[in-house]
Amino acid sequence: MKLIAISTLLILVLLSISSTLTHLYAESWSRHTPGFPDIESADTESLSYLLDLLKRLENLGSLNQVQESSELRSSIEESVERLSRAGVLKREEVAVIRKILTNRTSLNELINTIRDARVRYLLTRLADHYNRYGYVPYEYLKAVISAIKSLHDELDPEDYLLALEVLKRIANVIGARETATALDREALKALRDILASNHNQKLPPRIPQILNMAPNISIPQFETPLSELGLSFNIPTVTFPELALSSIPLPLLLLLLLSIAIPIALYIAMPKILPAMKRVLRSLRTSLTLHRGGLTIASERMSRVVELYWYAVERVSRVTGVVKRDVETHREYLKAVKERLGSLHMHFEEVTQGYEVVRFGGVDESKVIERVERSYRELVHSL
């Protein structure tokens, strides 16, 4: 019964703590659908249009196809414009997409559109180098690509798309065709990511979501393929906050579990440990009381006989190793030490009897003090 109650308690405590901590550590979710981003009321027609656009882009092999085909470009621009009017796409997204698609935007303009200062700096230096020297060493280009790749998780999707477009153009002018092709494909995916994230954000629960498509870029001589950028659609995952223990740092989790487990273990073990501890403490207390200088129990009001008895008990306990427990009567203690005292037992017995008649019998100690003192001296002298 106790075990069931404790197990239930433990589970409840763990669940409540994980819930609390997850809310502290995890991102805040929308109240109405935990684990999902805010779902606004969606224009179904616009979302269908967006989905259609995404499908069209999916069928394309590269962004260059869009940029080089005026018909295709116009069609997509028109779609983007329409989605902008419907509120599906944000204004800044539309602006970036337009700049990418038209292919008429200058390199500097593309770079200046990027909001991230670090990326802007890297690309500006790269562009300056080309403007000054008329070329860019491939290794330099590769280093910048790696640097931007490492910043991928921190960048806005639009910034990333713009950076790819800039790098693609530079790769083209320095003759790194394969690199340019890979960057172009990656840019197309980045464009699809921007559109897909808007689609999923606006998506009501009953409309199926776009599947995650793992990137497949292989760029020659890259230290790390771009596919490791983990490009995917920003699909929100379903989580249960109450069970999201993985969001809690391990040391903290261990500390929490220990802080719960230890009190419960103590609660279970205490009924067994406590009596033993009490016995030890009682023995210690008796021993300490007896050994304390001046003896607390030996007060001015106490008779000499009683005082001598407790001094005798102190001596006997030290010699025999048998400490008088608080629940033990004087006669029980006498019996307990009889064997260990041997022949000295009779002296201790005399002291005990004197103690008894004075302490409980109310006998005037003058009648027994002489006998008790003599026995005490004999006892102490022999011990």
Partner: protein, 310 residues
């Protein structure tokens, strides 16, 4: 001195085999002006013990076999019309004695039990409006068979409280049993041939002297602590009442007296605590089912309550 003599006559001479504790407790209870609830299976010398004590103490002994059809008048007595004198004559019931052995009290009807228990409490009986005090010393030794439940009327807890002590007696050891079998005729003759060692008046004087046995304040505190501890024990549903504390005090004094002392020591309290408390504690059913007994609870309490100090 008194018990020493009783001990010599009954125990040392092996008239009653392995019954020293029971005999001492009964005599103690008598001196403490209490009554005994003696629990034991049939044939363990309950009647023999009571009879032997009565003989040694020169007290009158009566035995009632309690049955379901026994009426209260059968115990306390009634008035009967005497045709010769033309008056109603009192026919006293068996309760008018010093030591009354009420055999199998749990077989009597609740009405008859109440009549007996009331007389025990008041030490007097009322018959048709006339009150008669029972002669001192007066002790009822009520027996119970612990295994027979069919057709019985178990005493309620409130009535059990009126018994000063409960003694649980059992079979003798194998050696004792064989001794008994070998010497049964001799034992029966010896019981019949027991001579008083004191007079009734001596017993009354002893009872008065018991009241003067010194009880230190620390002993009073010790007794109170023990009773209070029974109420706090986790196994106990209902602990000792103030009557239990009074019972321990009275019995401890009588015990000290029989030990030859005119003062009570903590050992006396420890000795009498168990027989005084075991029938007064009501244990929680879940612990009773596990086999925990009141005796274990009392021993546990005694192992935790500190004795008077210094």
């Amino acid at each position: 001195m008194l018990f020493k003599t009783i001990e010599d006559r009954l125990i040392s001479s092996e008239i009653l085999i392995e019954k020293d504790r029971e005999i001492k407790l009964i005599v103690t209870c008598l001196l403490a002006r209490g009554h005994v609830l003696l629990e034991g299976v049939p044939g363990v010398a309950k009647t023999s013990m009571a009879k032997a004590i009565a003989k040694l103490l020169n007290l009158e002994f009566r035995r009632i076999q309690m049955t379901p059809d026994l009426m209260p008048l059968d115990i306390i007595g009634f008035y009967i019309y005497d045709q010769k004198t033309g008056e109603f004559r009192l026919k006293k019931g068996p309760i008018f004695t010093n030591i009354l052995l009420a055999d199998e009290i749990n077989r009597a009807s609740p009405r008859t039990q109440s009549a007996l228990l009331e007389a025990m409490q008041e030490r007097q009986v009322t018959i048709e409006g006339n009150t008669f005090k029972l002669e001192e010393p007066f002790i009822v030794i009520a027996t119970q068979n612990p295994i027979e439940m069919e057709g019985t009327f178990p005493l309620p807890e409130a009535q059990l409280d009126r018994f000063l002590i409960k003694i649980e007696t059992g079979y003798p050891s194998p050696k004792g049993f064989r001794d008994l079998l070998r010497r049964i005729d001799e034992i029966e003759e010896a019981i019949e041939g027991l001579k008083p060692i004191v007079s009734r008046e001596d017993v009354i004087i002893a009872m008065e002297e018991v009241k003067r046995v010194r009880v230190d304040d620390s002993i009073i505190d010790y007794i109170a602590s023990i009773v209070e501890a029974t109420r706090r024990h986790p196994v106990v549903k209902l602990g000792g009442s103030p009557r239990a504390g009074i019972a321990i005090l009275r019995l401890a004094r009588a015990w000290a007296y029989l030990e030859g002392r005119n003062y009570v020591i903590p050992d006396d309290v420890k000795t009498v605590a168990e027989p005084t408390l075991i029938h007064r504690l009501i244990l929680k059913p879940e612990y009773e089912i596990e086999g925990i007994t009141a005796s274990q609870v009392v021993r546990d309490v005694l192992s935790q309550v500190p004795v008077p100090k210094p």
